[in-house]
């Protein structure tokens, strides 16, 4: 029975780990354990999808194993690979040693010559790690199908060695940016969480948690500014990470409040917040002054 207390406890732990989580995310994290399903997180870039896995690893005091997906990712890069160089060396050494240096197949294909890639590594941990499969939408459908099999059985078979079953079931977190629609099969296997851009309160809490040196007023202004920027028709909306970068840079510049700083100084520092040329051009002095005035 997961009571509100457990959930509140997890939320506190998460915030101690530097992650501000809503209750529904905390409930979901508890469910990952209780019903043993992977968690699929979707949302715009910069909303803290990857952070969820990091925070989870911190809270569970376990290892975070990360697999960054990209186009053309294959099982060799994701699961395991034989260390050919060492195998060749071993063969050469055996040849040089003559009949004394016997080397049979079993030894050649043993764990010694196996290069564990993230997926296999996650399966062979004693303490259940957090396995972060980042940007799964970038990998191709074939890999997704393979992953599906892995996530249902938590075992892999290596033809030369046999089947390896997971010592402990890892907490799997998948993230997706929506560059490609994932298959229904994979979606169905997973718990789902959608991360939106944070509300004012949440973002303020995050900024204050990460940058405690920031004054309450400046933090409020920064977050309000970032929130109103997101309402603009920008090419790339700033995420939480950008807000944090900007706050850090303002702190570095020794600015105490936005209205004192003036539009010019702010525009110079906006490089941390706006990442395309069009967006930077769209923010002229008047617009900035207006936003600052609105941010109060």
């Amino acid at each position: 029975m997961e009571s509100l207390k457990t959930i509140a406890g997890l939320q506190t732990q998460l915030s101690q780990a530097g992650y501000v989580a809503e209750r529904n995310l905390a409930v979901t994290m508890l469910m990952m354990e209780s019903i043993g399903r992977p968690l699929l997180i979707e949302g715009d870039p910069g909303t803290g999808k990857t952070e969820v896995a990091k925070a989870l690893a911190k809270v569970r005091k376990t290892k975070l194993i990360r697999l960054q997906c990209y186009e053309g990712l294959d099982t060799y890069n994701a699961l395991y690979e034989w260390n050919y160089q060492r195998q060749l060396l071993a063969i050469k050494r055996a040849e040089a040693a003559g009949p004394a240096g016997q080397l049979d197949d079993d030894e050649l294909f043993s764990a010694k010559y196996l290069l564990k890639r993230p997926l296999l590594e996650a399966l062979t941990q004693d303490l259940a790690p957090v396995l972060l499969i980042d940007e799964i939408d970038r990998a191709d459908a074939a890999f997704e199908a393979f992953l599906l099999e892995l996530l249902s059985d938590y075992q892999v078979s290596i033809p030369e060695m046999g089947t390896i079953t997971a010592k402990s079931i890892p907490f799997v977190v998948l993230t997706s940016n929506g560059t490609r629609d994932l298959s229904d099969a994979l979606r169905r296997r997973c718990l789902y969480h959608f991360l939106d851009y944070p509300s004012f309160e949440k973002e303020l809490a995050i900024v204050q948690a990460k940058l405690p040196a920031l004054s309450r007023k400046l933090a409020g202004q920064i977050v309000e500014f970032a929130q109103s920027l997101r309402r603009f028709d920008l090419k790339k909306k700033p995420g939480i990470a950008e807000t944090l970068d900007w706050a850090a840079s303002l702190l570095g510049m020794g600015i105490t409040t936005l209205d004192e700083a003036g539009a010019e100084q702010i525009q110079d520092s906006l490089a941390t917040l706006l990442k395309t040329r069009e967006d930077v051009l769209a923010m002229d002095h008047t617009t900035i002054s207006r936003l600052v005035a609105a941010a109060g």
Binding site: E2, A8, R23, V27, I35, L40, C190, S199, E201
Partner: protein, 382 residues
């Protein structure tokens, strides 16, 4: 887990399936496990848990709350708005202080306020037009939470008082307090005059009937949603209530309003509402009502409440004649005219002037307080 709960949860899962959620057998099974581990008595947690379990993509994520509400929350009751995920996600604060509009799915709970609900296409113009409007009204604000709750509170008070109404007539009632002497004597005859079997009487309760005629023409557009919400709340509390909308013609909407599924209610109203926010022909509509419905619906204990500003574009004289007929039939005719609240208002509009002599009560009813006053006054005479 109890059978009833299991069945209800299975029903929820199939509701989701009907709404295009891809929920497999595995998930359905896990739904129960989640319910067991989170406890079926904590709807907040269940909402969170099931959302992450049963949703698989962003659009489902955003629709889930509405589906959850419409399945688990009784219609017209307080929704658990504080647990809804908002557009920007919500952080856990002290419970109770959050009021979040949530993302509007196809229905329910948009964050619009009363004025905002109407400023899209139906700006209030004072004055009537005879043209039929083909616009369809946007009923999505029909179940707007805050106002609905306030209305419900008033309506519940009213309904309770209405149901307590008794007539002076009495009927035989086994659990009655007063002895029915006549009947007791008559029954004693068989026993040779010994009153061995006593009969009792109790005051007869006749539920007064309410008939609402709501003007939804363009000139009333500021108020029509308010009245509609009142009507929906009334329909949920009382069984003997009949609601009609009228503009250029009369439509019976009681059934659609009383639909326990707020989605379907809205859908049905939208279909019925063709001509919404168009011109008004009050006289003709009342005539229609008198001819087709009054005989069946209006009896001696019926209060007919008409909500209108009295701008009539029909023929002169019709409204007066029909109002007289209606007033003869009904116990009381109440006219709610939102304009009456304005300073310096006098009922000079032709329609209003024609109707005025036949009214039992002419009240403002432009907001909840005024409406409550009008209801109380109506109760007095019923």
């Amino acid at each position: 887990m109890e059978q009833v709960i299991t069945a209800k949860i299975t029903g929820f899962v199939s509701t989701l399936r009907e709404n295009g959620f891809a929920v497999g057998v595995d998930e359905a099974g896990d739904t129960m496990r989640v319910a067991e581990s989170l406890g079926v008595l904590s709807p907040k947690l269940l909402r969170d848990g099931w959302r992450s379990l049963l949703c698989a993509r962003a659009d489902e994520w955003h629709r889930f709350d509405d589906l959850f509400d419409s399945y688990w929350m009784p219609p017209n009751r307080q929704k658990m708005v504080e647990t809804r995920t908002g557009g920007a996600g919500q952080i856990e604060r002290d419970a109770g202080e959050q009021a979040d509009g949530g993302k509007a799915g196809p229905v329910l709970q948009t964050g619009l306020d009363e004025a905002g609900a109407n400023d899209d296409d139906s700006t209030a113009k004072e004055g009537a037009s005879a043209g039929q409007s083909l616009e369809k009204a946007d009923f999505s604000t029909l179940t707007q939470p805050e106002q609905t709750r306030a209305i419900e509170a008033v309506i519940r008070r009213f309904a309770r008082r209405l149901q307590r109404l008794k007539t002076r007539r009495e009927i035989a009632d086994k659990s009655g307090r007063r002895l029915d002497l006549r009947r007791t004597m008559r029954r004693s005859v068989g026993a040779g005059g010994a009153p061995s079997r006593l009969s009792y009487i109790a005051p007869r309760r006749v539920r007064p009937r309410l008939v609402l005629l709501l003007d939804v023409s363009r000139s009333m557009s500021l108020y029509s949603f308010f009245y509609l919400r009142v009507a929906r709340a009334l329909a949920a509390e009382l069984s003997d209530i009949h609601v009609f909308l009228y503009h250029t013609h009369l439509t019976h909407v009681s059934e659609a309003l009383a639909d326990p599924d707020p989605w379907r209610a809205q859908e049905r109203l939208t279909i019925l509402s063709s001509g919404w926010a168009g011109g008004t022909r009050i006289g003709d509509c009342i005539a229609d009502f008198n001819r087709m419905h009054a005989g069946r619906l209006v009896h001696g204990r019926t209060a007919v409440m008409i909500a209108s500003d009295g701008y009539d574009t029909g023929e002169a004289g019709v409204l007066g004649r029909e109002m007289a007929a209606l007033a003869r039939r009904a116990k009381r005719v109440v006219w709610l005219n939102p304009l009456k609240a304005q300073p310096g208002y006098s009922p000079t509009a032709r329609g209003m002037a024609e109707a005025l002599p036949h009214l039992g009560l002419f009240a403002a009813g432009h907001d909840l307080a005024a409406l409550e006053a009008a209801f109380s006054a109506t109760l007095e005479v019923l």
